[in-house]
């Protein structure tokens, strides 16, 4: 209780960030369903506590690498709705000037090294960022987000090996949402996920990814230790994606039952759980929370409207940024 009081601001911020992610995704989903958004997108809804719990333990100097399911990481690492919706719609004011889109969205100025659309593709980048920190004497930490599906990629084992050999300040954050695209994780992963890291002598933890405080507390400890050169670390965050693999993955009962989805949404939703905690601890009233939700919803609506009206990049940008000066 006492601890909750001292952390009021942090807690409200974590709640707010989780709701921002959910709201962003709801709006993104609507944009897709109404055929206003080009391409397709992978929803982060349901996994909010993972991105927020981790990113709230990081500074702007700390880096993350994100995934194709990256909107949540992007919001959690400090991005704004306006530039995000612009990116989603391919507009010039997007974080990547409309050249990245949903699968490469990132606010680079807050240490997000980009969302990677190759499953497991960013593990080298994250580990390399940590190598750079070590070689150049910096104390920043890099968190590598990836899903359970990415544990099947060989690159992970190469870089975990090197990270462990050289004690690199990197935290491998495996968001285990139970499904590797359209397949149950148990059908693609033999043995235990954490044992993979432990085989390299990497300290590995499993944590309830629907409990933002648990995620945050663990991350804070690991980040502090990584800064001191005790890395790397591995976290398996047990979580759930509410949507299909992507927005068009509607008919998914052949791999996942509606009852299971309902159970996670009704009983393990990270936002509902944390909201109840905030109210019961007296950190916020229902009214305050409703007001916060409404304000976020309004921000999102305005950002969507802005993005819909925003201009596309001019034609002369098509071959701009192929090479840096």
């Amino acid at each position: 209780m006492a601890k909750a009081k001292t952390n009021t601001e942090d807690y409200l911020r974590m709640y707010r960030q989780m709701v921002r992610i959910r709201t962003f995704e709801d709006n993104a989903n609507q944009l897709y369903l109404s055929a206003k958004m080009p391409g397709l997108t992978h929803m982060y809804s349901g996994e909010e506590a993972v991105a927020v719990g981790i990113c709230e333990a990081l500074t702007d100097d700390d880096r993350i690498t994100s995934t194709h399911r990256g909107h949540g990481h992007c919001v959690a690492k400090g991005a704004e709705f306006k530039e995000m919706f612009c990116e989603l719609l391919g507009k010039a004011e997007g974080y990547c000037r409309g050249k990245g889109g949903s699968m490469h969205i990132a606010d680079q100025s807050h240490g997000n090294l980009g969302a990677n659309a190759i499953v497991g593709g960013s593990m080298g980048i994250a580990t390399g960022s940590a190598l750079r920190a070590k070689l150049m004497g910096k104390d920043d930490v890099t968190v590598c987000f990836f899903g359970d599906g990415a544990t099947a990629q060989g690159l992970m084992y190469e870089v975990m090996n090197m990270a462990a050999l050289w004690n690199l300040p990197v935290i491998y954050a495996c968001e285990n949402n139970g499904y590797s695209e359209y397949t149950k994780t148990e059908e693609i992963a033999a043995g235990s996920i954490t044992a993979r890291a432990e085989a390299f002598g990497i300290e590995a933890h499993t944590v309830d990814g629907q409990d933002v405080l648990a995620v945050n507390e663990l991350t804070q400890k690991l980040v502090a230790r990584a800064r001191k050169g005790e890395g790397p670390f591995f976290m398996e965050l047990m979580t759930y994606r509410y949507h299909g693999h992507h927005v068009g993955d509607i008919n998914r009962e052949y791999y996942r039952s509606k009852d299971e989805e309902k159970d996670w949404k009704d009983n393990r939703d990270p936002i509902i759980r944390f909201r109840a905690f905030l109210v019961s601890e007296g950190i916020a009233t229902e009214e305050e929370i409703e007001a916060m939700n409404a304000e976020i919803e309004k921000n999102a609506t305005e950002a969507v409207a802005y993005a819909e009206q925003a201009p596309y990049p001019p034609a002369n940008e098509v071959d701009m940024h192929v090479y840096a000066d």
């Binding site: 050249k99 980048i125 580990t127 390399g128 940024h321 840096a324």
Partner: protein, 331 residues
């Protein structure tokens, strides 16, 4: 001017840049005490320590990916890929990650890294250690590709590559590591996209890359004795490509042969020949010829391997035919 080997030239370039810029470091298999199998990096670990000359496990995708991440966050890694053939192993990291970060981020992220590797057959190394894969990476927008043809180029291009803010792949010919050439003591850089006219001539232009420059120069000498005056040009970088110098030369000579050790089909020679056709068509008095390696996996047996790469004699024969107005490859 003093003469040093290509291997020493690369070593000097790396040492000078590492002294100049503390963010430059070397990453790769057996780069430290071993100094690579070709001993190109010998001595560097003694000066810069294992923090900046980092031996890695045999994990090419892993350490190339890490170089990308280090480059994106402020370092200037030089990755040593022991054989050019291993590029296949690192295609995702090089082509999906390194090459695209700047574009995908709308210009906000940069990847200033160098991938040092090699090319070239006739070392009796068989099909998986003899390939010249520069066309593969030159095809990918976002990568720059340098092909030094001598110790002088190797040093100047390496220093430019390290200072470039883009991923650069440098292919050294592994047969040339012990070849000596005059290299100034004082510092110099060779800008990318500036071809070098190695020899001036009126009758035919021989455009050659890497060790094929030597082949072209020998051919030019032989042609001179027959009264054919060949011009030899080394593009030095194929991305970016100094098109203007090539076009000027071909407009002067009206004939060209493009020579590169990569497989001939869909290769560097095809690309350059095609550009000459498109942009100097009305100046051509003969078809532009491509001369690349045969379209076969590189065989082990010396008797076979030597047949697969362009030779001065073959260049001479083709040049002679073009200058005589004989029809080559006519249907």
């Amino acid at each position: 001017m003093r003469e040093i080997t290509l291997s020493q030239a690369v070593n000097e370039a790396l040492a000078e840049e590492m002294r100049r810029d503390p963010s430059v470091f070397i990453l790769g298999e057996d780069v430290a005490e071993a100094g690579t199998p070709f001993k190109v990096l010998s001595g560097l670990v003694e000066e810069f320590g294992t923090d900046r000359v980092v031996d890695t496990p045999i994990s090419e995708p892993g350490f190339v990916g890490m170089a990308v991440g280090a480059a994106m966050t402020g370092a200037r890694p030089v990755v040593d890929l022991m054989f050019g053939d291993f590029i296949y192993l690192v295609m995702d990291q090089l082509c999906n990650q390194a090459a695209k970060q700047h574009y995908m981020s709308g210009g906000k992220l940069t990847v200033p890294m160098v991938l040092r590797t090699n090319l070239g057959a006739t070392r009796r190394s068989a099909a998986q250690h003899s390939q010249s894969l520069q066309a593969l990476v030159a095809h990918i927008p976002g990568l720059k590709v340098a092909l030094p043809s001598s110790a002088y180029e190797a040093k100047g291009l390496m220093k430019t590559a390290i200072r470039d803010n883009n991923p650069v792949v440098i292919f050294e010919d592994k047969l040339m590591y012990q070849d000596k050439a005059p290299v100034p003591e004082e510092e110099y850089l060779i800008p990318f996209g500036e071809a070098n006219v190695k020899r001036e001539g009126r009758d035919i232009t021989l455009i050659a890359t890497s060790s094929m420059v030597q082949v072209a120069e020998k051919a030019a000498e032989m042609l001179a004795s027959e009264g054919i005056d060949a011009e030899v040009i080394d593009p030095r970088t194929i991305v970016p490509l100094d098109e203007a110098t090539l076009l000027d030369s071909v407009k002067k000579t009206s004939r060209a042969i493009v020579i590169d050790e990569g497989h001939q089909s869909y290769g560097v020679t095809a690309e350059i020949a095609s550009r000459l056709n498109e942009k100097a068509f009305y100046h051509l008095d003969a078809p532009v010829l491509r001369m690349g390696a045969m379209d076969v996996p590189v065989p082990f047996s010396p008797a076979l391997e030597d047949l697969t790469v362009p030779t001065p004699e073959a260049v001479v024969e083709n040049a002679r035919k073009l200058c005589a107005g004989e029809m080559i490859h006519a249907a």
